[in-house]
């Protein structure tokens, strides 16, 4: 069998994107498509970029005055939004670094949390929101505790990539702005773009990051969307050219950007994708809960204390993070390997490039015990899965887990 249930790692190229890209490719030979060129080729290229920009704007509910900066992916977009301002500040003389704090949460993707480490190394205060009680999720109080007038840049993940929880970014932003009016708020929206309905304005943030290959475009392209009012606060990360309105040097990845534009348009048009994902998630959830007594579903908890505008929207519709009971003598990373051999692609969560699986680092950051960290896997779907295949995959996963519980403990 072959069943891909690791959409949060990469969506897979959308068939319509593949068709559009295939049709587009010969143009790269025929025309000299460098958007910075003066000749007609340059003009055509610029048009391609702008069409893609519009498509991305539409997808995230941004207006024509908002900037879309194409990057090599969401990691670069996150680095630009979060780290670049502090690099610029480091060059300024006579500033009191203690008055330029960075605020973020303990469940961010490494492309933000590693920036936080670097920001601290540069001598700026870093405030990290952690839940007060171990093995729980945040409350409003946890956020308020870390908010401070000195916070000038903040970044929050929208849909948590490993456990699927959706953070009430809009409400968090509202509280933060009341305390620190000049703050630049960034949102890592990689896992929510194209999966749940929201807009830049409704999120109440200044910028958001998205990634091409998480919505069916090519990998190697992403974007930082910045509200018009906040563009003056931007710093560039890459220097050496006037591309992207001086916000991102380097010749644009035209093919990638083109694919992102196509994928964004498709995602915008497909209003039922969230529902399809949710039905796949529910089906898997139901079968696994029934077959594996003691199974725990992670991430379905709301951040308490905020008036959640949509109480149904606590978790990504496509992400199911499960922790198997202690009587299963199997680690999450072994289940991933066993599933792979059976043709089912899932993951424990993050994986480093060497292939080592470190367990679920989000659960670890939230203070869950070693068992939960090691015995969890993430199943994430696109909504396009075949129902028969899905059922078979859920059966295989249940069987592997049940068999493991029959083996003596090591």
């Amino acid at each position: 069998m072959s069943c891909n249930l690791d959409a949060n790692a990469t969506w897979g190229l959308h068939p319509a994107v593949l068709a559009a890209v295939t049709e587009f490719l010969p143009r790269l030979k025929r025309e000299l498509l460098n958007p910075s060129s003066v000749h007609l080729g340059g003009q055509s290229a610029k048009l391609i970029l702008d069409e893609a920009r519009d498509a991305v704007r539409e997808l995230v509910g941004a207006s024509s005055g908002d900037a879309v900066i194409f990057t090599s992916g969401a990691t670069e977009a996150n680095n630009q939004a979060v780290l670049a301002p502090f690099i610029s500040l480091s060059c300024a003389a006579n500033i009191d670094r203690s008055q330029f704090a960075f605020l973020t949460s303990c469940v961010e993707h490494e492309s933000v949390s590693d920036c936080a480490t670097r920001i601290a190394q540069l001598g700026f205060p870093v405030r990290i929101v952690k839940p007060k009680a171990l093995a729980s999720f945040f409350s409003r109080a946890d956020f308020l505790e870390q908010m401070h007038p000195s916070v000038k840049v903040a970044s929050f993940i929208h849909g948590q990539n490993e456990i699927g929880t959706i953070l009430p970014v809009a409400q968090i932003a509202l509280e933060l702005r009341a305390l620190s009016p000049q703050v630049f708020i960034h949102c890592d929206a990689v896992q929510t773009v194209g999966r749940i309905a929201f807009s830049l304005k409704k999120l109440n943030v200044d910028a958001l990051s998205l990634s091409g290959h998480k919505i069916g475009a090519l990998s190697g392209v992403g974007a930082l969307v910045v509200s018009g009012a906040a563009t003056s606060q931007l710093s560039s990360l890459l220097l050496g050219g006037a591309q992207e309105h001086r916000n991102r040097a380097g010749t644009e990845n035209l093919l990638g950007v083109f694919s992102l534009g196509v994928a964004a348009r498709l995602a915008k048009q497909d209003e039922e994708s969230g529902l399809r994902m949710l039905s796949v998630r529910s089906l898997l959830r139901e079968i696994l809960l029934e077959k594996i007594p003691g199974l725990v579903i992670q991430g379905e908890c709301a951040v308490t204390g905020f008036s959640q505008s949509d109480p149904e929207q606590n978790v990504l519709p496509n992400t199911l993070c499960i922790t198997f009971p202690p009587n299963c003598n199997l680690r999450g990373d072994d289940l991933v390997v066993a599933c792979d051999i059976a043709g089912i692609r899932i993951s424990t969560g993050s994986a480093c490039s060497s292939g080592k699986q470190e367990g679920n680092r989000t659960l670890k950051a939230l203070g869950f015990d070693k068992h939960a960290v090691q015995a969890s896997v993430r199943i994430s779907c696109t909504g396009a899965e075949d129902i028969a295949e899905l059922k078979a995959a859920a059966e295989v996963i249940s069987r592997i887990l049940t068999n493991s519980s029959l083996r003596p403990a090591r």
């Binding site: 003598n329 199997l330 680690r331 990373d333 072994d334 390997v337 066993a338 792979d340 051999i341 490039s353 060497s354 292939g355 080592k356 699986q357 470190e358 367990g359 592997i400 493991s404 083996r407 090591r410």
Partner: protein
Amino acid sequence: MSAGRTETSVMDFNNSIVVAMSGGVDSSVAALLLAREKAKRNSAQSIIGVSMQVWDYRKSGGSLSRATCCAPSDFDDARRVAGKAGIPYYVMDLEDRFKEQVIEPFIAQYRAGFTPNPCVECNRKVKFKELRARSLMLGCNTVATGHYARIVRNGDTFELRRSVDRVKDQTYFLFGLTPADLSSTLFPIGHLTKPEVRAIAAEAGLASAEKPESQDICFVSGSVADFVRRHSAQADVPEGGKIINVRGELLGYHSGVHHFTVGQRKGLGLPGGSDAALYVLEIRAATAEVVVGERAELERPGLIVTGMNWLVPPPTSSTPLRCIAQLRHRHAGVPVLVTQEERSTGSDSSENSPKTTIRFIAGWAPVSPGQATVLYDIDNERVLGGGTTSAKELRC
């Protein structure tokens, strides 16, 4: 090879196999040979390449400059080889088990004045136990490694034998495998010499063909003493003490017993080069004394071994076993007579396995407590068993 015996290097595999891959040339060729055999037989069984992540250099603060195991580049090499061989490849995190079963005892033993052998413990408790257990969960009953050793099937018995390449032979580190282990283990390169292995790798265009030999202990970059110091709490680092001779006369000072091994000759650091012909005779961790003397003073009538793992029926006090004992890696072996108590005396709670007594019968070798003592048949070919060299001296 006599009739009825079958070498189980690559033949005889009916089960799915996990092949342990370090990224080095030996395990790379082992994986390649298994994959070729599978293709030749058009077999449906799975062969899965696995690298064991046992030690994280980023966390340990160790040097990355030296080529050791578990570096990301090793895993990249292993993955490339697996790709070439057409087998799936995964990295398994075994750090916790390795720390608990190999690293921590290693440090404790050094602090206590012993010279432990971590490769033996890694094979016994990690590779052929934890990795095997986790392989079973993947439906793989057999574990294959790139060790230079052979397993020969003789009727219902699986014999562990030295590799064809006697210089590279690694059976000294493998005596801890149980008879059950041997029946579900493959050493695909045991019948090859190192140059043959390198030639296969080069011919197949494997990235690891020209890789340098891994040296010494995989997780130690730099000196062992430095490693022990870095991984011990301040209070636990052995303090310096006296270097004395057998008569108790003071010859000099040392900076901790973890710097020494019984039988060691170089690096005593005695004033005026007076250590030129002196050997470490004994390490007394309790009093931090290192006793040195002439080579002749190292001579013992034999030794006591604890924790024996027998691959043949053990001898008794009335039916002694004549065989060859190897006391260190690369030691050629020395003829001995072995007897074993029928059961534990129970007098010594720390060593509750039956004591095995080994007497030298022609020649002798330095006895280093903590090292492995491995017994081979009189042809010095087949492993009969092995255990840990005790600090307890054998009296005449």
